[in-house]
Every structure is written in C-alpha cells, then in structure tokens.
C-alpha cells in the first residue's frame, strides 16, 4: 500500500507547491495559493512519516513541538520592519537542516555510498553550511548586531575565493577517493568559514540582494538533498526556492543597474562611510520649510504622490504616513504611493509596510506604472528615500548610480523631501534634487515629521 501512497504524497506535494506559487501572482488568489502550499507540505510530511525506516517518534515529536512553538512565536511577534532579518534567519535554519541531514547521511551510510550520491551529499553540505553561516552574518548586519559597513582588506577577494576552491577541491577528492573520510569535516568547516568571509566585505544595505542570493543557495542545497535521497518533491521545492531567490536578486541588481559581481565583490557603500566620516558634505543653500509651511502647500494640492524609502522603514513611519494620506484624501486630493523596486530594506518591503498600515494595494503603484504621472502631479512627497529619486542616475555619467532607473519626482510641480539632514543615501552620492528651486526640504525624523504634517494639516483644514 505504502508503495503507492508515499510516492503519490510526494507527487501531490510537488504539484501543490507550484499551484501555491501560481496563486501568489495575483492578489485575489494569493491566500488560496498559500493554502495549496500548506496542503502540499502536509502531504510531504505525511508521506515521510509513513517511511518504514522511521521506528521511533519520540525525538520527532519533541523537535516538532519545539520548532512549531518557536516558529509560531516568531511569526506572531516579528514586526514587519524586521522582515529582512527574519528572512535571513529562516534561510539559516533551512540551510542548517540541509547541512545536518547531509552530515548524518554521510556518517550513517559512509562506506557504501555511491559516487553520485556522494557528490550530491558533498554539494548539499557545502551549500548548506555556507548558506547557514552566510545567512547568520546577513542577519547580524541587518539586525545591526554587526557593523553594517563593508569590512575590506587588500586581497580579500582572492583569499575568499581560495577558501571556496579548497572546499570544492576537497569535495571532488572525497568523491573520487571515499577512503579519505577526514576530508568530510574539512569541507564542512571550510564551507562555514567561506559563508562568513563572503558577507564580511558586503555593506548592510546590500544585504537584500545577498539574502535573495542566499535564498537561491538554500534552495539548491535542498535540490542536492533531493538528489542524495532520490526524493523528487525535495528537488521540486528546492528548484522553486532556487529560482525565486535568483530571479529576485536579478530584479534588484537590474533595478540598481549593478552586476552580481559588483554586489558580491564590489564593497559598495564604502564611499558613504568615508564621506560621512570626513564630514565632506558640501554647504550649498537649500530651501527648507517647517511642517506648518509644508502643510499649507499640501492643503492646496489636488494630486500628491508619496515616495517612501529606506528612511521610512527605519523610522517605522508607515502608520503616520497613511494618516497623512487619509487627511489629504479627505481634503480632496488624489493621493498615490510610488514604489521603486529597491526602495527599502528588501524586495517588496515598502509594499508590505504600507499594507500593514492599511493602505489599499491599488493605491500603491510600481515605478513603471507611475513614472509618467509625476509630470501631472502637484506635489511629490519623498519620505526617507534618496538614491531612488536622484536625477544624477539619468544625467551624470560619472555617478556610481548612473543608469539606474529612478522615480521621476523632479517632474512634479513641487517636490518635498523628508529626511533628517543632508546626508547621502546608501550609494553615498549627493542628490541634485535637493538643490532645485522646486524642492522643499523638511528636516527631521520621518515619523515625527509625518505626525507634524498631519497635525498642522488638520489645523489648516479646520481653519
């Protein structure tokens, strides 16, 4: 009986995972898709528990309960602003599981493993431990337990690549000559070391791209596990995970007009630090305004586009900004939100934050959808966004962000920028936008400024 039930469970799981992902391509079907994926996981678990190799459920039950409790607590209490960290952490968990399973498989069956299975196990362990430590490092940088600045030293890239090559070489040797059992721990340790070394030179703000890439590696380690265990549901789930991570990182690289190599080895975001340290911020005159003055202008606007960025997430200002949008709407203005693909701290992050603050998703528009509309807009209100609005990307060939597609806020009749000071954004370049005649700077923390604007606007409207 189980000869039929187990394979069919896995087949169903594989199919349902795909159906799940298809669901999430549309708002209407997204939650149904999620349910399909959940059902798929249920099938996979039931199919696995029917394996006759499993003879003792004690540890399974304990581990399952512990895992469920931790998972549920994390799911309920993690704030939306901490999503990037949580995602990094869960890559670490997934990869750890893959690495440990590979290790156990190796030691349990060690002398009689065929060359192909051995290669799959080696790859699984390599990718597993590399992704585990890499994701932990990414978590540390995102959660600001570690310094966000890229830590670089001369020849770093060569050292890193050598470590990886030695680990891969050891893997090949082990597959060719399985008697060299001492190589196995060497591979595991080198992989873990490489994971750490890979992330050290990458700046905190590049972590989103990096976690997408780690997503892809975690998927590939599941694929390797699938090959090692000859389990097709694992291969399917791993391949889906792998392609999702890869596509997201490609989308982000493209939206920043940067290459993979540049993200991984470019130590981008250094300029930022040095500029800040050197105090090299130029003193040029800008027009700045108080929240009262800004509120008076906003009161007369018929159309406003709000451009949220990384600073909004840092300030956790999403709820206040939504209130501001509500007041403006009540005042008769058409209010929309414009989202750049890399605004914020992870792909799609701004959308989630705004959705959390109860902004309807059809009021949130992607860069391509809204860029043409800035020219017909009274006020573009930039909140904690910088690089994604920098016109230098269009005009200045020497700028590090040249060629990056940006939101054309400078086409609006008036531009208001909310930020704390004149500091540069992640790319470390000055923003010409701030010195234009039509631009008004409102200095302060995004949340405080938004509160002030709501307050003053309500006063103005009432008056």
């Amino acid at each position: 009986m189980n000869d039929y039930v187990i394979p069919l469970c896995y087949l169903a799981a594989g199919g349902l995972f795909i159906v799940g992902l298809k669901g999430i391509t549309q708002p209407k079907t997204a939650r149904r898709g999620l349910q399909a994926a959940e059902l798929g996981m249920l099938f996979a678990i039931v199919g696995t528990l029917l394996h006759k190799e499993i003879i003792d459920f004690t540890w399974i039950i304990i581990a399952f309960v512990v895992g469920s409790v931790i998972g549920a607590l994390m799911a309920v209490f993690v704030p939306m602003t901490a999503m990037p960290q949580r995602i990094a952490l869960s890559h670490a968990f997934g990869a750890l599981a893959a690495g440990l399973v590979g290790t156990a498989e190796y030691y349990n069956h060690q002398p009689e493993i065929g060359a192909f299975t051995m290669a799959a196990i080696t790859l699984e362990v390599l990718l597993g431990f590399l992704t585990f430590t890499g994701s932990l490092m990414a978590f540390g940088k995102l959660h600001e337990l570690l310094p966000g600045r890229p830590q670089v030293y001369p020849g770093q890239n060569y050292v890193n690549i050598s470590v990886l090559l030695v680990a891969v070489g050891a893997g090949v040797w082990l597959v060719v000559d399985p008697a060299q059992t001492w190589l196995f721990p060497v591979i595991a340790v080198l992989a873990a070391a490489f994971g750490v070394m890979l992330i050290i030179p990458i700046g905190g703000a590049d972590m989103p791209t990096v976690i997408s890439l780690l997503n892809s590696y975690a998927g590939l380690s599941a694929v390797a596990m699938g090959f090692a265990l000859d389990n097709k549901a694992l291969i399917i789930a791993g391949a889906l995970d792998g392609s999702a991570g890869f596509l997201l990182s490609v989308i982000m690289c493209r939206a920043m007009n940067r290459s993979f190599t540049n993200v991984l080895f470019g130590a981008f975001g250094q300029a930022d630090t040095s500029a800040a340290a050197g105090g090299a911020v130029e003193e040029r005159p800008v027009r700045s305004a108080t929240t009262e003055e800004a509120a008076m202008l906003l009161e007369t606007a018929r159309s406003v586009i709000i451009v949220p960025g990384y600073g909004l997430a840092v300030a956790q200002a999403q709820h206040r900004i939504r209130e501001l949008a509500d007041v403006l709407t009540r005042n008769g203005a058409e209010v929309r939100f414009a989202i750049h693909p890399v605004a914020g701290r992870m792909p799609g992050h701004m959308n989630v934050l705004l959705a959390e603050a109860d902004v309807p998703y059809d009021q949130i528009l992607d860069m391509d959808e809204i860029n043409a509309d800035f020219a017909q807009t009274d006020i573009a209100l930039v909140v904690g966004a910088n690089d994604v609005t920098n016109p230098a990307a269009r005009t200045d060939k020497n700028s590090p962000i040249y060629g990056m597609p940006i939101l054309d806020v400078d086409a609006a009749r008036t531009v208001m920028v909310v930020k704390r000071g004149m500091k540069a954004g992640f790319a470390g370049v000055e923003n010409e936008l701030y010195f234009q005649d039509k631009t008004l700077m409102i200095f302060g923390d995004a949340k405080k400024v938004a509160e002030g604007l709501v307050h003053d606007l309500e006063a103005t409207v009432r008056a």
């Binding site: 992902l21 869960s90 893959a98 030691y107 265990l229 549901a233």
Partner: protein, 122 residues
Amino acid sequence: MSTAIETGLYVFLLATFVGFEVIRRVPPLFHTPLMSLTNAIAGISLVGSLVIAGSDHGVTSTVLGAIAVTASTINVVGGFLITDRMLKMFKPREARKPATAAKVAANGAGTSAVVASEGASR
C-alpha cells in the same frame, strides 16, 4: 546513467523552468510574501530530517536529525504563518474598514466623489 540521476535531472530541469515562468509573473507588490512563502516551502528539508531523527543510527544521528527537524519546522510553521499574516494585510481600496468611510463622510463637501465611489463598491 542510473535512473535516479536521470529522473532527478528531468525533475530539476522542469521544475526550474516552472519556477522561472511562474515567479516572473509575481508582481513587486508580493515580493516579500513570495520570499517568505518560498522559505516555508524550503522547510521541505523536513522530509530528510524526519527520517534521520526517527531512524535507528545511534545517538549522534538522532540528535543531528532532531536539530534538523526543529530548524525545518521553524521554517514551515513560521513561514506559512507569517506569509498568511502578510497576505491578510493586502486589501483593495473597496475593502477598507467602514470606519474610514464614516470618518470620510463626516468631512463633507470636498470629498463627496470619493465617498460616493467607496459607497457604491460596497
């Protein structure tokens, strides 16, 4: 070539094609939930972990297996729950809570068009 390898390669090739085709259609709106959903799906490493935690290969193996099961379960349970939490937050314009409409209505003239359209959709 053993059938296991061959089959594995087919499944990997085809699943990757499916993955790329489907995921390229996911709108930026859902990129964060997408990541957290694939995280949950990657909890499929449970499949390997459970067998190791439950089979009889000595204590070390069982402990490794149990840790792996814990880690995978965190991903599965946490991933699905948090994806659900996120997806629930996404609402179209019409579905906003009535309170807003009431507040809006109380605000009179300038916004009557908005109120009307919100009212009609309910």
